[in-house]
């Protein structure tokens, strides 16, 4: 490549990266996230500083990787850790202020016996439809017309007013009526609008063409920090407790909308002190570890044996065998896991029918675990087979010949020559496979959903992995609690990281064989 062309490409790429950072920054600014805008700006400037100058050569290589690592690996970890110190979850999504305004807005009830109006939305003639104060043009069931605005309801003289058959006003002198789209553009103003009536209620719009008289039954007193529900007699008073509005007289009654708040280490304390959770955590962890180790070893052994077999030069039609063996790997797990689930059915499954057994595979702890391990062996060995086949083919023939000349038998050659060389290539993949299986969510979820559940505890299943357990806590449990599930995730992260470190040390040792 000629130098000017290379230079041109370089600057185009730099410009594209900076422009990209700028676009992201504007989006973030739109969302009102100041800190993120600053960060995006720093990244943009950083790209410019690193690649536009001749300095910082090592950074030119490191920057993209570091950036992506921060974005996709460190940030989720930090975010999750952050979340684990809150009660974020169902019923605790928003701030306390938002919960108050939502509770009051949702408590508006139609005042019984009040008329329902047909409504048009208007502004004063020649005023701006985008900004001017909104006026409701109302027709009551008797056909009388009114104007309504925050100052109250006033009669509208019928002269010059045209109405649709439904009673909705189509035009009125002195007013400009808004079109549907114009009304919609002012949805926020419209929902804030209530035409006060004498009994303390307000006429509020419904959609584009109706209005009703409603009254909020809840009120909030900021000074005492209490919400009062006047629809009951006597009025019910709610006070903040434990991130919810709780009935002062009867603490078992709470309003559905709570708020998000920091809870410190409470989520972690719960993991380690709640007896069911603690025992469940230990048993899940032991099974999880066993599952991951057994899956890796069993799939590796089977895959390697088949790979060794098919690596024999005397075997013909290898292409066909190899393609067939890769099939389990090529089929989507969503299909295969469900097929296996059907095969393990106690009454109708092919496994019990063929073997004449009557094992309740998916209904007992041991049966479910065995079923999972068998399925995972079937799903996982083709990967190991591919990997081992590749690695075996890269082992030079002369090494084996040398071993044969030195008088080693086939087994000795395998143990002392082929295995060490194979492990150099495959070792890191075994570790990756361990990490994958440690978090093999899809298989468990599709096959047993973590079950069967024993005794009177349906939060901890006997075939649960930590990740399916965390998922149940966060998303499909009785009370989805992201904060708590985040705490569990942080612990899983720490556990897997701790277990992986010695593994990678060992891999390094293997690499030194070369």
């Amino acid at each position: 490549m000629t130098k000017p062309l290379a230079l041109a490409i370089k600057w185009v790429l730099i410009a594209a990266a900076v422009a990209g950072a700028f676009v992201i920054a504007t989006k973030l600014a739109e969302a009102g996230n100041t800190l993120a805008v600053v960060l995006a700006g720093v990244v943009g400037l950083g790209i410019l500083a690193i690649y536009a100058t001749r300095r910082a050569v090592p950074l030119k290589y490191l920057a993209p990787g570091v950036l992506l690592m921060i974005l996709f690996q460190l940030w989720p970890v930090v975010y999750t850790a952050n979340l684990s110190f809150t009660n974020y979850g169902d019923g605790h999504l928003y701030s306390k202020e938002e919960s108050v305004s939502d509770i009051i807005a949702q408590s508006v009830r139609e005042v019984p016996g009040t008329p329902r109006y047909k409504m048009s939305v208007a502004v004063k003639e020649r005023a701006s439809v985008e900004t001017a104060d909104l006026i409701l043009l109302l027709t009551n069931p008797e056909g009388a017309t009114f104007t309504g605005d925050p100052s109250g309801l006033k009669p509208l003289a019928p002269e010059g007013v045209t109405k649709a058959p439904s009673g909705k006003i189509l035009s009125a002198p002195g007013y400009t009526l808004l079109t549907a789209r114009q009304v919609n553009a002012r949805s926020a103003d419209l929902s804030a609008l209530a035409v006060p009536t004498s009994d303390g209620g307000g006429i509020k719009p419904v959609g584009l063409s109706e209005a009703f008289e409603g009254k909020p039954t809840m009120s909030y007193d900021a000074a005492s920090d209490r919400i009062t529900d006047s629809s009951t007699t006597p009025p019910t008073v709610y006070a903040p407790a434990d991130a919810r509005w709780t009935n002062v007289a009867d603490p078992s009654q709470t309003l559905p909308q709570g708020w998000k708040e920091g809870v410190g280490l409470a989520n972690y304390t719960r993991i380690f002190t709640d007896p069911t959770l603690r025992e469940g955590f230990v048993s899940i962890f032991v099974w999880n570890l066993f599952f991951a180790i057994f899956s890796v070893l069993s799939t590796f052994l089977l895959g390697m044996l088949i790979a060794l077999l098919f690596n024999d030069p005397r075997l013909r039609g290898k292409g066909i065998y190899r393609s067939l063996l890769i099939l389990p790997y090529a089929l989507p797990i969503f299909v295969t896991a469900l097929v296996w689930k059907g095969m393990f059915n106690q009454d109708y499954g092919i496994i019990n029918q063929l073997t004449g057994l009557n094992v309740d595979w998916l209904g007992t702890s041991l049966g479910a675990k065995t079923a999972i391990l068998i399925t995972n062996l079937w799903l996982g060995f083709p990967y190991m087979f591919i990997v081992c086949t590749g690695a075996l083919q890269s082992i030079p023939q002369d090494v084996r010949e040398a071993a044969t000349i030195d008088g080693a038998n086939a087994f000795r050659t395998l143990r002392s020559i082929i295995m060490p060389l194979l492990l150099v290539a495959v070792g890191p993949l075994l570790l990756a496979s361990f990490a994958f299986n440690f978090n093999n969510f899809g298989l468990i979820y599709l096959l047993t959903k973590g079950g069967p559940f024993n005794g009177a505890d349906t939060s901890i299943g006997s075939s649960d992995l930590l990740i399916t357990y965390a998922y149940r806590l966060a998303f499909s449990g009785s009370a989805p609690n992201y904060g708590f599930a985040a705490a569990v995730s942080v612990i899983i992260f720490i556990l897997v990281a701790l277990m992986s470190i010695p593994g990678f040390r060992r891999t390094k040792a293997l690499e030194e064989i070369n």
Binding site: Y94, D102, R116, S187, G207, Q257, G363
Partner: protein
Amino acid sequence: MHKRALGAVAVTGVAALALSACGGSSPTTPSNTAAGTAKATTTGVPETPSGTAAPVRDANVDLVIWTDADRSAAVQKYADEFAAENGVTVKVQISTDTRQQFKDATKVGKGPDVIVGAHDWLGELVQNSTVAPVNLASDVSAKFLPKAIEATKFNGQSYGVPYAVENIGLMYNKDLVPNPPKTMDELVATGEKLVKEGKAKQVLSQFVSKVGNAYFAYPYLSAFEGGGIFGTNAQGGYDPNKVIVDSPGSVKGGEVLADLGKKKVLSTNVDDTNQDALFDSKAAPFMISGPWSVAKAKEAGINYGIAPLPSLEGGGPMKPFLGVQMFYVSSKAKNAALAQEFVTNYIPRKDVQLALFEVGKRPPALKEAYDEVSATDPDVKAWYEAGVDGAPMPNIPAMNSVWGPFGQATADIIAGKAGAQARLDAAAKEIEANIAKG
């Protein structure tokens, strides 16, 4: 390698959480800047998502509706009409898991204005401040089945407009059983006779599964006085502080489950994957299921009949849960006025209800529409009659604490792993503990 793999581990550990929880904090600005200039156009066909990801809210239209694939065409037709009438643009988008996707998208200000969903989502949606009250005129709401309107209410406030009711009933194979049994004993006797004669392989096909199914197990409890899941409060709503799965009536229902489990009438090996197949292959002459099973039975050429659930010895008829399908308006709707207008003015129309009926064949919630279809479609009438005694499924958030524990308890009772009294007591304790935690 070292760093990368460690990182990969980190990512897998938190991926599930991060994916749904990441995102900006405040909503984007409304997108009506083109108000005066944009022409009233319609999209014609619903937008189909790729894979199972949530749809991306189209920021350039005046009203966004999310629904599942089945209903989208019917909704689209009337959305188009609404668009033309009001000179606005409407987009119907298909969401694969509306409940979760709506919650997640609304949290980050990217949710739709209107969704179509089941009424039992309501408590959870209110709890998370994601739906707005929908105030129907009293003369309009009087046109609906009272139970359907009741189902759209939470704490006395109304949150949507219903369009269909659904419930389970007894499907039977007319070639094997000319007349539907009135009692469970009759059902078992008929079925066992057929099995003995070799005309069937098992008595009944009912979704139980290894983890149980609270929805299908509930009618056994409700058949007895005082049996059920939640008691009611002074306003007639379900009271989360009154868990009655271990009441004497519920335990009687549990004993029926145990007995049917012992007789192999109910089995934990029947689940959603094989329930229909058992009935459609004539292996089982009876199936307890809902309108969703009809299409498959028809396809398999089964001469089926639909009857109310049988009654239980010592109790009364089994009363199923009623599910109500409805239109919700998002509380964070960018186009609240149009959303309210569409839901309050279009969904109560007879032609809209009829169009939506064609999609799922569930009895319409609007009386007029129901009368019209039930006159010509005996299935609809039969489903409706099977649900006449039913109560709406609880829509309080506490119901989320029930599905797992109660389902598992019924599975264990059917499998004979535990006695009805002890297991339901344990389930009640677990449910109460979960509600207290939530």
